[in-house]
Symmetry: C2
Subunit: 478 residues, 2 copies
Amino acid sequence: MTHFISRITTLFTDYMRETSSREDAKVVNYIAPKDLLAAFDMRITDEPESLGKIVEYCETTLQHGVRTSHPRFYNQLFARIDPVAMVGEWLTTMVNTSMYTYEVAPVFILMEAYMLERMREFIGWDVNVPGDGLFSPGGSISNMYAMQAARHYHFPQTKEHGLLAIGKIPVVFTSSHSHYSIKKGAALMGLGMRHVIAVDVDRRGKMIPADLDAKIQLAKDDGLAPFFVNATAGTTVVGAFDPFEEIAAVCKKHGVWMHVDAAWGGSALVSSKQRELLRGVELADSVTWNPHKMMGIPLQCSAILIRTSGLLSGCNATNAQYLFQKDKINTEYDTGDKAIQCGRKVDVFKLWLAWKAKGDKGYERQIDYAFANSRRLAELIRARPGFELVYEPECTNVCFWYVPPSLRHLDHTERREALHRVAPVIKAGMQYRGSMMIGYQPLDDFPNFFRMVFSNPAVTEEDIQFILDEIENLGHAL
Amino acid sequence: MTHFISRITTLFTDYMRETSSREDAKVVNYIAPKDLLAAFDMRITDEPESLGKIVEYCETTLQHGVRTSHPRFYNQLFARIDPVAMVGEWLTTMVNTSMYTYEVAPVFILMEAYMLERMREFIGWDVNVPGDGLFSPGGSISNMYAMQAARHYHFPQTKEHGLLAIGKIPVVFTSSHSHYSIKKGAALMGLGMRHVIAVDVDRRGKMIPADLDAKIQLAKDDGLAPFFVNATAGTTVVGAFDPFEEIAAVCKKHGVWMHVDAAWGGSALVSSKQRELLRGVELADSVTWNPHKMMGIPLQCSAILIRTSGLLSGCNATNAQYLFQKDKINTEYDTGDKAIQCGRKVDVFKLWLAWKAKGDKGYERQIDYAFANSRRLAELIRARPGFELVYEPECTNVCFWYVPPSLRHLDHTERREALHRVAPVIKAGMQYRGSMMIGYQPLDDFPNFFRMVFSNPAVTEEDIQFILDEIENLGHAL
Ligand SMILES: Cc1ncc(COP(=O)(O)O)c(C=O)c1O
Ligand SMILES: Cc1ncc(COP(=O)(O)O)c(C=O)c1O
């Protein structure tokens, strides 16, 4: 076993070193599914395999995987993980406990309470008012907690009696650019996806408060029961920040819960320069914030934060006697009854440890650097023929087209159609080469465009140049 | 950084060595919340902290935590983690990717498909019929997926139009001893907790099929819409296995979805001796199985398995264009649209790696050993004055009372009340001493009793003796 651990340590150290380097490792060694199945014998049989073989399987797994910590991985809203956070998560795995009771997780239960309070402070809520919150298995589930808390606030009878007891149809509002988890939540919670009403966005991808106001009024006139507005801090594709102050005013006027999905953009709160983007977030009733995105914490790390206390246990408590015995010591610290989960992995420690190591100032610098990089890329795009910004960046997303020379003189409609086919080809080219990874998608009437995301602190000026060079290289002959 | 990693490695190695030993470490160094807060400065400030300090924080965290891998931790349905699985999870953390697309998780996507197929095979489903499934953040959420799939099967209009479009009240049936996640699911999904109808159990804690039949019929007569029955393989407290064949017949008769919550008892499927306990499980439409319990996989590792294909994406697909572009390569492997999550942590690798290392036979031995230990403890309890079994064990749970001498001659009612106060005192005593951890709870009319759980493969005959000695030692003077 000691020999095994030492071989694994070497393997991991090598992997981390290579992954940090542009020369020693590709972002991905692309392999098609059927070739991967042929190259990697996954079958488990009756007989045990030696620890030596286990090390080899780990090697093969690393070899065929995508290196998300590589300086040229920009494909998702997460990228390079923080090494201290990684060690924190390793510790968490080793101690393997669950977040429901103080009894089995004394340190982590107190730490979660502390971190949630701290995050509430960054939001700007009054820390003297007890709030509520949990770490959940991701932003989607955090958003669902918010919807659930809001539903419980407005229609507490739902918990016992179900939605049918409301007597009206509850409806939800969210911008057309918001994350799909609101729709998934509406499906799961029995509200129905058509009762998620899409609010229009402006040319920068921000929710239009007047449209929200009008649509809430319309819903009321139709006898529906508006109860929840989801605003977004950092939309998934564009990185837009909705105008929270105006939205809050509309919510207040109509008596509707205001949630801010800051899964992506919440991390801007730790920067005194960027937090202005979230002006008005403190007016929200609840906020989702994912440290597993811009803060470099390994998946999963997401917090649902609620301004006032009591709603999570209000909607989720079942008082299971086998777990939450009131005759046991310290049960007032238990969190299990607030959650939709029973066993709940410890997601707070890695974040706490990384934040301790950086301090607020260190995190601020890291976030500011990601923002600066995005502005730099936008500048380069503006200056370079063939590249066009789709949106002016607000968060660290940079959305742009590359227009190959052959398309530059086409008329509008022809160009649109041809351009739609460009990004997929370039993307596949990147994957085959393994040189970098960037996502693309269409949006509204815009044909496929690249969404470059900066959250990787290893990115340099040279990398930023490389992004455009490589895209041009792969696409100029199309 | 290298120095840091090497100090961490030493710290972790020491922790694992101590934790394996009955002499070198207590299960817990009990500390009250306010003392812990005083002993452990959690505050994060502006300034970074050195890596040396980070190592110290890790030490403090380990010191005050509960050692769930200690041979005398029996408090939850999980215990000692498998060291190969731990390494697998460390690798997962290091590569940090998400399970939505083949693009970013090629190995893990194929591995998940393989493992789900394998688990379906253990259930006894026809492997030539394509099935469905996912790893989810725990058994509670797996059970909710099952409820959601069943609802979609019976009332597909819910997804778009909401529960109100059904026109009837959908109801769910589960035994009175089943896990509370069914109720939580009903609350979240808008069904309402009162529409979870409790089916009676017999003296061994098993659902009574005749009562199920009668209650479904009654619900139908009342104009309600029964659509889901949850049967349990290994109930949380008692460890009972519901009679699946009879339940399947009732479900078939009434046209209702049958789910088996085998979160706890599912692992018995890998043993040719124990799998008889799950006879008829192959008649289920869906099964929850948590390798993070009896199989020693670190939290979280839970699978929802569905006999037929298509329902998960049926109820969850939103076709988000930014993530699941049909013009991208290999998208037919993507799983994201099936999930209620967006980012989804890789939970399959640790299970796969541990299973490879043990082989089916190794896992079978481990499971059989846990069962054998439970029978041994029951035998000792039967033979020892002052100890009484509450239930004959079926799974590896052993439920028993310790009756201190002073209570042995009380009349029934007096004894009941006094006995109820015994377990909490003994439990607190264990925690203060740190000698072992076992849970207790009341159930139905039974006053507080201990629930000993065997899933820890490090338990020896000596430990089993110690359990009774220690309880007697802590409780005989009460
Ligand atoms: C704005 C926004 N909200 C929520 C989510 C969901 O977060 P998670 O992937 O953790 O479920 C995302 C994910 O990209 C997002 O961009
Ligand atoms: C029978 C049963 N089902 C479901 C669960 C929930 O599993 P999890 O804790 O992974 O949510 C448990 C947990 O103890 C259980 O005992």
